[in-house]
């Protein structure tokens, strides 16, 4: 008993020894902090502008690609680069389909400042990452799932979509563009 430590069995009545006040104090602070952190998530869900839970639907890659093609046919205003990536200007409130595939983004969306758009994010092959720079918003794109979120841009400029989920040996070439205009 005189040599009791963390490596030896405790005295028989260990569970009857009182807990020190310092421990009680620290456990109370730590537990209160955990409650505050829980509250913050709920609070932000109701009061905050950024919540990525969104909506999600199962959809086949073919059906998703077909909807995206329809959008491209309807709203393309020009193309950019020698790859002729379509720049699409979907009207405010409309559905913007972002199709990721090895190793490209289907379109360059052009959005209006302060308007809200219904973004549909998915992949037609493997997992990809939607990383919007420089605001650094990052979402996971999973094939077979339509991830729906309402985006409201708050600053004009040229943005980039970087793939930040490993998607194959040329993963690092997968970068695209997005415009926000007045």
């Amino acid at each position: 008993m005189s040599t009791h430590n963390t490596l030896t069995p405790p005295p028989n009545d260990w569970w009857r020894h009182p807990i020190g006040r310092d421990e009680v104090l620290w456990i109370s602070i730590a537990a209160a902090w955990c409650v505050i952190m829980t509250f913050m998530m709920v609070y932000w869900y109701f009061a905050g502008n950024q919540n990525q839970a969104g909506e999600a639907y199962r959809i086949s890659p073919e059906a998703f690609a077909a909807k995206a093609d329809e959008m491209v046919d309807k709203y393309t205003i020009r193309t950019e680069t020698e790859l002729e990536v379509p720049v699409v200007a979907v009207p405010p409130g409309g559905d913007v389909y972002i199709v990721s595939s090895q190793y490209q983004w289907n379109v360059i969306p052009e959005l209006k400042l302060g308007e809200t758009y219904r973004f549909h994010l998915s992949s037609v092959d493997v997992n990809h990452g939607f990383s919007l720079q420089p605001i650094n918003v990052n979402l996971q794109l999973v094939p077979g799932y339509d991830y729906v979120l309402n985006f409201t841009p708050n600053a004009v400029g040229e943005y980039n979509m970087v793939c930040n989920e490993y998607c194959g040996l040329a993963h690092h070439v997968m970068v695209g563009r997005l415009y926000v205009v007045e």
Partner: protein, 563 residues
């Protein structure tokens, strides 16, 4: 019944060691260190590629090396070492023989065979899928099979551990309740059993799919179940590393827990919500309602977070109380200043505790907030965070324990003790720095698992700011320092085993659990303010955490509306 000829008594520590268990401890520890070397060299190569000014590897080899690094170091090194810890705690600390040594060797062979198999098919380029292997990216079937064999081996060792506890109880090799450290190891083993079951549930169908026997693996379901495995693995690491921290506090200071009740309860909290924590890897994924997400990140996560925060006070607190009892009672921090900082067992232990808490802990709690997750997901912030936990935390704690185990198990003096002294500091501060710079770059948007942040020649590419390049360069330099620390540790370990000076059998104890003055005033904690210095340390920790946490909310509030 136990047979005395199967035991030896360690002349340094007085511990009774079961020889068949000792052989298994040595084999598992050596295998661990070999894979730390392999995985560490891959890590160094990856870090030198992400350092923009060096950009060492070509793209394909970067992704191969990254897959090998994650697999060899997070899975193979860590788990082999934990197997040695399970054998040590259940036999040596309980003064018991081990259950079924033969099965122990079968488990070892399965794990080694599985690890080698996975490495072969990673290095031949047929499994460049990262260690997470999210389908529908497909690896060579032998990659999944290798991981499954490895996991089955580890599962067997968990059952041997439980069997040994039963033997020790039946043969009354100890009295009363399990020692705290063994209790912690038991928690780790229980979590491991759940974890490995999850791994099997997801990897076996994936193996069949890769063989063409199953049509389709739902990629989202895979992510959910895979992380029940991947996240719980980190809870095993937590429990094992905390048991080691408590153990080293006793080995070096004779420390006893401030209160057995509190420390045991804190371990127990890890079990309560174990199965659910995994969802915090899916916070920026499609699917999962808000209430599911909040439940998983709050109740399921914060229960474990609470357990960890309790240990964060009670471990330094137990050292402080022991030191004060020995007269180091001046001011708030004499007990810490006069601790044996030149002993790598202590420096490794205390650094890993501090780095784990301040780097891994603070950032982990912040990034697993449902909404904040969106501004770090899959950036270099994520590997930055977990090098603060598994590298500067768990791995460094294992290194510290190794320096204590080497003379005990191999009966040799630690080879090049000066180098050993440096190794913990270099690895800890190197990895800690690497973690911070990688996280800084991640805050500014750099993608993880990415070969070319310059997007060279890509008409849609863009340029990151000079600050980002500065952080990535600094991450490269600190990664080199950390790697040198790891190499120094491997040099000392292998050197000791092969050519270390043999210890005479009547050697003066180097470090001994019984040799250090034990603390006798159990239960007489006075007013319960025996550890004011540690209380100040956790208060500083809390201030950092609160400030950092709300700073991230502020950053989140500035981005686009996303609902």
């Amino acid at each position: 019944m136990s047979n005395d000829s199967e035991f030896r008594t360690c002349p340094d520590t007085g511990l009774r060691i079961h020889l068949p268990a000792e052989k298994l401890m040595k084999a598992n520890a050596v295998a661990a260190v070999v894979f730390l070397l392999i995985g560490g060299l891959f890590g160094l190569a990856v870090a030198l590629t992400r350092w923009p000014a060096v950009h060492l590897l070509p793209a394909e080899w970067f992704y191969i090396a990254l897959t090998a690094h994650g697999t060899d170091i997070l899975v193979v090194w860590i788990i082999f070492f934990e197997m040695a810890v399970l054998y040590f705690t259940s036999t040596v600390l309980l003064n018991s023989r081990m259950a079924t040594p033969k099965v122990g060797w079968v488990a070892f062979a399965l794990m080694l065979g599985g690890a080698v198999m996975a490495n072969v098919v990673i290095l031949d380029g047929s499994s460049t899928v990262m260690f997470t292997s999210y389908p529908p990216l497909k690896a060579n079937p032998l990659f999944y099979l290798g991981l499954i064999l490895f996991a089955v081996g580890a599962l067997l060792v968990c059952f041997i551990f439980l069997g040994t506890l039963v033997i020790a109880k039946q043969e009354k090799t100890y009295e009363g309740s399990l020692p705290l450290v063994v209790f912690g190891a038991l928690i780790a083993a229980i979590i491991a059993i759940f974890t490995i079951a999850s791994g099997a549930i997801i990897l076996i169908p994936t193996l069949l799919w890769s063989l063409g026997l199953v049509g389709n693996i739902d990629p989202q379901m895979y992510r959910l179940v895979w992380w029940a495995f991947g996240h719980s693995s980190q809870q095993i690491n937590m429990a094992a590393q905390i048991a080691i921290w408590y153990g080293i506090a006793a080995l070096l200071f004779g420390a006893k827990p401030l209160s057995e009740k509190v420390s045991r309860m804190a371990f127990f909290l890890y079990l309560l919500a174990l199965q659910l924590g995994s969802a915090h890897h899916l916070l920026s994924d499609p699917g999962g309602s808000m209430s599911f997400r909040v439940f998983n990140t709050s109740y399921a996560m914060y229960i474990a977070v609470l357990g960890s925060m309790i240990h964060a006070f009670t471990i330094p607190g137990s050292i402080e109380a022991a030191q004060r009892e020995k007269g180091l009672n001046n001011g708030l921090f004499e007990w810490l200043r006069k601790a044996p900082w030149g002993n790598p067992v202590f420096s490794g232990m205390f650094l890993s505790l501090v780095l784990f808490g301040f780097i891994g802990g603070i950032t982990g709690v912040t990034m697993s907030v449902q909404q904040i997750n969106m501004i770090i997901h899959n950036t270099t912030y994520v590997p930055g965070h977990f090098h603060g936990t598994v590298a500067a935390g768990t791995t460094l704690a294992f290194m510290a324990l190794t320096y204590w185990l080497l003379p005990v198990l191999w009966r040799r003096d630690v080879f090049m003790p000066k180098v050993a002294q440096w190794s913990t500091w270099m690895f800890g501060l190197g990895m800690g720095g690497f973690a911070i710079f990688f996280m800084a770059a991640g805050h500014l948007g750099v993608a993880r698992r990415h070969w070319d942040m310059t997007f060279a020649g890509n008409p849609l590419g863009f340029e990151y700011s000079a600050t980002v390049y500065l952080f990535m360069g600094a991450s490269g330099i600190t990664a080199v320092i950390g790697s040198l620390g790891a190499l120094a540790y491997i040099l000392c370990t292998v050197g000791t085993i092969l050519i270390g000076k043999r210890r005479p059998d009547d050697a003066a104890p180097a470090v001994s659990p019984e040799g250090v003055e034990a603390i006798t005033s159990y239960g007489n904690r006075g007013k319960g303010w025996e550890a004011p210095g540690s209380l100040v340390l956790v208060a500083v920790f809390m201030v950092f955490l609160v400030v950092y946490y709300f700073a991230n909310w502020k950053y989140l509030g500035s981005v686009w509306g996303i609902r």
